[in-house]
């Protein structure tokens, strides 16, 4: 039985654990705003069917949408891995450096895939 910190079983220092939690909550706040905007936009976009023109006419060459979606993706890349870290540790009993590394990898993958998608719909031509 370990004495001292509750967190001594984790590979991360307690301050890091708390800041990860904080990052997840802050990204949640950002996402709350982004998701409302996204849901409204989506509902508007799917009226009369979805087409490339419907999406691209809004996003192509738009600095505003570029920034919005870039921020959206960034927030997701923080929020999802930290959340999934809890789910995996509690469901599969997987803890420690291996899990932390896998979640960091997920963050990078989401950021890459997401920002690539943002570029795809924003880049002109």
């Amino acid at each position: 039985m370990s004495v001292g910190h509750a967190s001594s079983a984790s590979a991360l220092h307690v301050r890091t654990q708390v800041l990860l939690w904080a990052a997840q909550r802050i990204s949640a706040l950002v996402l709350a705003v982004c998701v409302v905007v996204h849901l409204v936009t989506t509902i508007y976009a799917i009226r009369n069917g979805l087409s490339a023109a419907e999406i691209l006419s809004r996003t192509r060459g738009s600095a505003g949408w570029a920034v919005f979606y870039a921020v959206f993706v960034g927030a997701v890349a923080v929020h999802a891995p930290v959340g999934l870290r809890n789910v995996l540790s509690e469901t599969l009993n997987w803890r420690g450096r291996g899990l932390d590394a896998a979640m960091a990898l997920l963050a990078v993958a989401l950021a890459y895939g997401g920002w690539r998608a943002v570029y795809a719909v924003v880049a002109a031509g």
Binding site: A6, S7, V14
Partner: protein, 241 residues
């Protein structure tokens, strides 16, 4: 006696981690509690049954068990309110090692209480004047609404995070830490926040609220833990963790 009392079909856990439910038939009576049922079984049907109780009037928390799937004080659980179809199953509290039958080892529960720095430490001696704490102050009210915990273990038994995360301190220990965090006389604040923060502490709580739902004293460990989350964040941002 014209009508013999109806009979309860009672299943009681026997054994330790490995074991099985054993069935008994227990005569029903008015105002019967689940503790009455367990007592009847041990005295009249099977003296080898092991169980805990003390005050039998809802003050000590010793008689806590899992009744029809819910952790509760058996001395304050009326059979009439839970045995809708005349059946009751009684098992030991969850999330704790089972010593025998309905008796669990409470040591891990109290070890975590200690790990959460759930003890008061002051710096006044008897040579100092009394500390002045205003009972109506916002901070003291936060303490008062959480202080009545008697360490019965019902919340700990009900919590899924305790079940899934062996290191998790649990709702009772964290609730007590919150009362001490708000105690103006306590001087162990920084160490305590360090002890209760993080993956095995308050930040692992998912607000499932099984603890608040089941607490026989109607406390809300969820609320206390939310307070600790905020306090620990502030400490982390100030570099105090």
């Amino acid at each position: 006696m014209n009508n013999p009392p109806p009979v309860l079909q009672v299943r009681v856990w026997r054994g330790a981690e490995d074991g099985a439910f054993q069935s008994f038939e227990v005569p029903r009576h008015e105002s019967q509690t689940v503790l009455d049922v367990v007592t009847y079984i041990q005295r009249d049907l099977d003296p080898t049954l092991s169980y805990r109780f003390a005050c039998r009037v809802g003050m000590c928390g010793s008689c806590a068990m899992t009744v029809n799937g819910k952790a509760r004080w058996t001395c304050r659980t009326q059979v009439a309110s839970i045995a809708k179809n005349g059946a009751v199953d009684i098992a030991p509290l969850e999330n704790l090692p089972v010593i025998k039958d309905l008796v669990t080892d409470m040591a891990p529960f109290f070890d975590k209480w200690a790990r959460a720095k759930g003890q008061f430490r002051g710096e006044h001696t008897r040579k100092d004047d009394f500390a002045r704490i205003q009972p109506e102050s916002a901070q003291r009210k936060l303490v008062d609404e959480a202080i009545e915990c008697i360490g019965c273990g019902v919340c700990y038994s009900a919590c899924d995070v305790v079940r899934w995360n062996p290191e998790y301190l649990g709702p009772a220990a964290l609730n007590r830490a919150w009362t001490l965090h708000n105690d103006g006389r306590d001087v162990m604040q920084t160490e305590r926040l360090s002890a209760v923060a993080g993956d095995a502490g308050c930040h692992a709580c998912h607000t499932q609220m099984n603890c608040t739902e089941r607490c026989p004293k109607h406390l809300s460990p969820t609320k206390s833990i939310a307070g600790l989350k905020r306090a620990a964040l502030a400490a982390a941002l100030k570099g105090r963790l």
